[in-house]
Amino acid sequence: MNVLLNDMAEQEKLNQFIARIEAGEKIEADDWMPEDYRGTLIKLISMHGISEIMGALPEKEWVPKAPTLNRKLGIMAKVQDEMGHGQLLLRVAEDLLKPYNKKRDDLMQDLFKGDLKFHNVFHMEAKTWGDAGLIGWLVDGAAIISQTNMLGASYGPYARALLRICAEEVFHAQHGEAIIMALAEGTEEQRKLVQDSINYWWESLLLFFGPPSKKEVGSSKQDVTIKYRIRTSTNEELRQAFFSKYVKRILSLGYTIPDETLRFDKESETWIYQQPDWGKLKVYARNEGPLSQERLSLRRISYENNKWVREALAPKVI
């Protein structure tokens, strides 16, 4: 009998919750929420947060190497912003983790164990200054498309964090575009840097938005995130928006895209393209991408080396 009552009470809470989000209300950290809503948010936001932090590493490689004082200042500011986004998002995730008694340190351990994933693009190598520019221009460009899709998220703290993040990402994309423009208008070697970067990153950019449906990699979170009004568009809609925004820009600079089949089909009003190797998403999720282990190793080394600092700062037990 009690169980039944509990079930009914739970159902009632759930109904109210669904009614709230359907009315466009924001859910706050201390509000009641269904477990799979909380779980979905934790996965999404901690992955987003840790990706910002891991994403600082490939760009960090180019911070000292940036070729002029202004470029050095620009990329330093950008990478610092990314770290700031990571911090902001991890704080949002930490609030959600409270009922499970988990903290920042647990997220770091999850990262090291491979339970907490980071975005596919940050497993890749940033080999040249062209890559540093392209990351800003197209990777951040893709991120803006995927993140503005969640600006209306039903979870208030995430929506508010995204508002600030997206505003800064626009600057990052402009910073990247400025680097690419300078190279595109430069010498033959400089121009080639950009083409090589496009060729290297193209598949990763398509993978970035996730598979169109469950069938490509066996699972997809997009249905549940749409159901809970965390996002509005599907992965495929976002990828199409990316093509619409960038294909023309890339071609107008005189560059080619490494996909001969890519075309806009007027009848269906969609971009037709060569499907990327979706299996790579699983490879990266297992931390078996080109630089997955190197990047994780950097974080592990710093975690180990700074153990004494954490201990020294820890509150004293009296």
Binding site: P64, T68, L69, W129, E294, N305, R310, E311, A312, L313
Partner: protein
């Protein structure tokens, strides 16, 4: 530069000290990016490194304005022997490379940052009344940002030394000793020091160092450290072009892309 007066040379030298110090100090700070003890610190210290690179850029720009050379060229295209930075600022953060196996020492980072930032604040205070007006103006601007940098590093210094944590305290003490070994290089005004003082560009080395000791002594006392300082220049005077392999390697990284095509627009 053959017809330069002694005054021109003194101004140029002083600007190079300031620019080169901040340039290499910012680099050592940027190497820590993503490796700091926690994410909040990564955000804070990368902001400080960025400010510091901004200060270097201001000084290189002043040099450009008086015809010494293009600011980017001055920053990226001068060999180690032409650099004027203090040697302590070029010393590596620890074994390894910033992209591979960086075994960096946070205690050394905190001590060097705190000591240098305090010394920089004292120099800037002195530059407020510099007879070279462009520098006096710039000093005001830079000092506003420095206030926060100093607060930040002082806090770390006091927290770690006052933590009662054995390893933290012993690491910090070792870092203090290591830093002081070469810290006189920061106050050195190099071979044109006398002219700089006579021309009223900046106060003399001994005065700067004395003010630094006065500034850090209460902090040392607050964490129970003795205030008898032996400040040395064990590896030599960077102001006169003496440098180590650490600087050469850093410059290779800092100018890698620039050097791939010096004539190109980046």
């Amino acid at each position: 530069m053959g017809n330069d007066s002694l005054k021109d040379i003194a101004i140029k030298e002083l600007l190079l000290h300031l620019a080169d110090d901040d340039f290499i100090h910012s680099y050592r700070g940027a190497e820590w990016l993503g490796l700091a003890p926690h994410i909040e610190e990564d955000v804070a210290s990368s902001s400080i490194a960025q400010d510091t690179m901004g200060h270097a850029a201001i000084y290189y720009k002043l040099l450009e304005e008086i015809g010494v050379g293009n600011a980017d060229q001055l920053a990226h295209d001068r060999p180690a022997k032409e650099r004027r930075n203090a040697i302590i600022l070029e010393v590596v953060n620890g074994p390894g490379y910033y992209m591979k196996d960086p075994e960096y020492d946070w205690a050394f980072a905190v001590v060097r940052n705190y000591f240098y930032t305090q010394a920089k604040a004292i120099k800037l205070q002195s530059l407020h009344t510099s007879s070279y007006e462009p520098l006096a103006e710039v000093a005001q601007k830079v000092q506003m940002e420095l206030y926060y940098h100093l607060m930040h590093w002082k806090m770390w210094f006091v927290q770690l030394l006052g933590s009662g944590h054995e390893e933290a305290v012993s690491r910090m003490k070792a870092a203090i000793e290591k830093t002081l070994q070469d810290f006189a290089g920061v106050f050195s005004l190099g071979q044109y020091g006398e002219e700089m003082v006579e021309l009223g560009l900046i106060e003399g080395e001994a005065d700067l160092q004395k003010k630094w000791i006065e500034a850090v002594s209460p902090i040392f006392e607050s964490v129970g450290l003795a205030t008898t300082f032996e400040i040395r220049m064990a590896k030599g005077d960077g102001r006169n072009g003496k440098h180590t392999e650490d600087l050469e390697k850093a410059l290779e990284t800092l100018s890698e892309v620039y050097a791939s095509d010096k004539a190109a627009s980046w």
